[in-house]
């Protein structure tokens, strides 16, 4: 392995002080034909929040997994406090004092929150004391957790909180965070930033990956920008604008959304009439008498803080869980509350769950096989006389890949070999490819880069303008205001009436999220 100190990338000479904690030199990682990392060098200093930016598939997650010992580089060296080290497993990285928040979580679904956290800490703390500590510390961090909840019951927003709290409790010297805020609410993210600033003041180094450029500008002291596996630029994000950062990442400007006029009044295509559901587990939320109507031609968005019933509502809409009253869910005039998921798809519905790896796609199956899984019963010709037409599935995969710019290292890979943002594009593309009459998406742009997010949002708007009803569940208010014609807010299982987006302010949505008007005009209150 040779030394790569020559040719520092442009911008590397910004004023930076602080002891060098970890230095990577000439890291190269090859996956099949793709160079996910190509001669990447990076210097992480104590007291600094260092941003790692790049479009989907640029190689950010690959690089940080190498720093954490979860992947082995083909070439390149690591230096910890100036001395060369070989980090060949996460255990060794942790021993050095490196902590990591993974993009695709590394949680144990069958265990409680407290047990998940206990596993990351050195032994010796009794679980009961730990539970108390989690309660108080997570409050301090602004990422409240219930230590006794079982992870399987929790939505991704709360899982993200666990990942972060678990990492912070280890008190690492270097914290690597791979898109920690993409499913947090703005308030939660703000709290997290305060915590991160305090930690850097105490001498921590933080490597921070995010697609939210505004927050990078706000909190990061230094940024490394990657494109196609290479470092193209280092800069001080405060000196840049979000637009210029996006241009640096993607290599071209990001377009604003075009919203065609709403089509003339049409009949409601998706209606919820007094939809209620008891909690289906000790930590799930009961849905209380939800009314909503989505007409063809409009995008309706549901805002809300994670864990207020979004997941439960999605499960009922998609048919993963049946409604008690068949008439509570009406799709194109048909009472559908008792129908299963394939049946609803056959009626022209499309669904995108929030958790893409595991729920939205089977990690170990190829993309074409994942297409067959959702479309085998929808009359798309994938099944003929009981036989699968894999050739057709492959052609669909190719089509989705080119329409949604899904980048992959080789043809038709397993779902888990895709970068997070590219998998998200695929999962969305798979549903949009059918031009569904009713589309329900949960967190449509989780972890996709600015360019791809604009593409997905544009596709959602365009779909509705073709006469489909689109329901978007999201925690990202910017996104909601960009796509929605009407907005409803969910809070502890209550849904506020949907109001036109132009009449709503962020403040009012914030109040509604906090439970104002909860269940007003309804007979009962949440327990």
């Amino acid at each position: 392995m040779q030394d790569h100190e020559t040719n520092p990338p442009p911008g590397a000479e910004t004023r930076r002080s602080g002891e060098v904690l970890l230095e990577a030199r000439g890291i190269t990682k090859q996956f099949g034909d793709v160079r996910a990392n190509d001669d990447v060098s990076l210097v992480l200093r104590a007291g600094e929040i260092h941003a790692l930016l790049g479009e989907n598939g640029a190689g950010k997650s690959t690089l940080v997994k190498i720093l954490y010992g979860a992947l082995e580089p083909n070439a390149g060296t690591l230096h910890w406090r100036g001395a060369p080290v070989r980090i060949s497993s996460p255990a060794e990285a942790r021993a050095l004092g490196i902590g990591m928040v993974f993009q695709h979580f590394s949680l144990f679904e069958a265990l409680t929150v407290a047990e998940n956290i206990a596993l990351a800490l050195p032994g010796g703390t009794p679980l009961r004391d730990l539970a108390k500590r989690i309660r108080s510390v997570s409050q301090d961090y602004g990422l409240a957790l219930d230590p006794d909840a079982i992870v399987a019951d929790l939505p991704v927003g709360i899982r993200q909180r666990i990942e972060i709290v678990r990492c912070l409790l280890q008190e690492p010297k270097l914290i690597i965070m791979d898109e920690p805020t993409s499913v947090l609410t703005p308030q939660e993210a703000d709290q997290l930033f305060l915590t991160l600033e305090r930690l850097t003041a105490e001498g921590c180094a933080i490597l921070y990956i995010s697609h939210r450029l505004e927050e990078v500008k706000r909190i990061c002291h230094h940024a490394t920008i990657m494109r196609h596996g290479k470092v193209v630029m280092e800069c001080d994000p405060a000196q840049e604008t979000a637009g210029s950062l996006a241009r640096l990442m993607v290599g071209s400007a990001v377009h604003d959304l075009k919203r065609g006029a709403q089509v003339a009044e049409s009949a409601p295509r998706l209606e919820l009439r007094g939809l209620s559901a008891p909690p289906d587990g000790p930590f799930s939320v009961a849905l209380q008498d939800i009314d909503l109507s989505v007409k063809g031609g409009e995008v309706v968005a549901i805002a809300g803080i994670a864990g207020n019933g979004q997941g439960e509502l999605f499960d009922l809409l998609s048919g993963e869980r049946r409604a008690q009253d068949s008439g509570a869910i009406v799709i194109d005039g048909t009472a559908s509350g008792h129908l299963g998921i394939t049946h609803r798809r056959r009626q022209g519905c499309g669904f995108v769950p929030e958790e893409r790896l595991g729920h939205g796609a089977v990690p170990g199956l190829r993309l074409s096989e994942n297409i067959v899984l959702t479309r085998h019963g929808t009359g798309d010709g994938l099944v003929r006389g009981g036989m699968l037409d894999m050739g057709l599935a492959r052609r669909m995969e190719q089509r989705i890949k080119s329409n949604f710019d899904v980048r992959m290292s080789h043809d038709d890979p397993e779902a888990r070999a895709l970068s997070g943002g590219n998998l998200q594009k695929f999962v969305i593309g798979r549903e949009l490819d059918r031009t569904p009459g009713v589309l329900v998406v949960n967190q449509p742009t989780w972890g996709v880069d600015a360019g791809a997010a604009a593409l997905i949002r544009q596709e959602l708007i365009d779909l509705s303008r073709q006469g489909s009803a689109v329901l978007v569940i999201s925690q990202d208010l910017d996104e909601i205001f960009e796509v929605a014609d009407r907005i409803a807010v969910i809070s502890r299982g209550h849904l506020s009436p949907a109001e036109p987006a132009v009449q709503l302010t962020r403040e009012r949505i914030g109040l509604l999220m906090g439970g104002l008007e909860e269940g007003q005009g309804k007979a009962h209150h949440a327990a």
Binding site: A70, A91, S106, A110, I150
Partner: protein, 306 residues
Amino acid sequence: MGGYESILLTVITAATPLLLAAIGELVVERSGVLNLGVEGMMIVGAVLGFAGAQATGSAYIGALCALGAGMGLALLFGFLTLHLVANQVATGLALTLLGLGLAGMIGEAFVGQPGIRLERLHIPGLSTLPFIGPVLFGQDLLVYLSLALVAGVSFVLFRTRAGLIIRAVGDNHGSAHALGVSVIRVRYLAVLFGGACAGLAGGYLSLAYTPQWVEGMTAGRGWIALALVVFSTWRPLRLLAGAYLFGAVGILQFHAQAHGVAIPSQFLTALPYLATIIVLVMISRNRVLTRINTPACLGQPFVPDR
């Protein structure tokens, strides 16, 4: 001894080998490994336990030999499935065939020899209690051990850090690896523990149940132990209930047959299986609990991304 006492006694002796083998396999499966070689480890335990006792004259040394024999086969299984990442199901089946063949070969010399029985240990003070005393507190070491193991495994799995790590590895080995847990080492230890328990279960057969060597004397008990683990939804106390229920119904149907009850004997023979399955399925109806207790990585090979 009265009639009921002898029945109770036979129930205990019928349940103990199942319980021993199953509690070990429970730990193995909790760590995410499916070892279908229980029957094979048991029978090698039985024959080497018998041989050890014959050679040294001590049934206790025999039991130790049985334990070691089970661990030896388990080590082979671990090497193949954990190190070489061979398919666990196929390797487990092969282990059973290997064990049966090996035991038949080793045991040829012992057929028909009278064996040495594990002595009954009377717990002072308790074994003289009227009615239940002699039956419950006048048992051999392995019976006490099997019960202690249930309590111990239950405690370790759900109350200690070691148990938490075992459950974590069984639930998601990728995440466990990412947190710095040595997945392979945890699984090796679990597999060895399972082998030791299966070996002892075999030893119990040839040193206490019927102190002699008969070819094929495990008679499918390893498979029943495997089924009990699944039907108990990987929970030690349910396993205890299942093993004793199976033992009890087995003995009862035996008595019923002996008394010529007018039910087809095939049905009676099937009764322990039916009753155990029905009862364990009934008590495992809580889907949430079942989902939480089922090791999600069961049988999956672990190869960390590199």
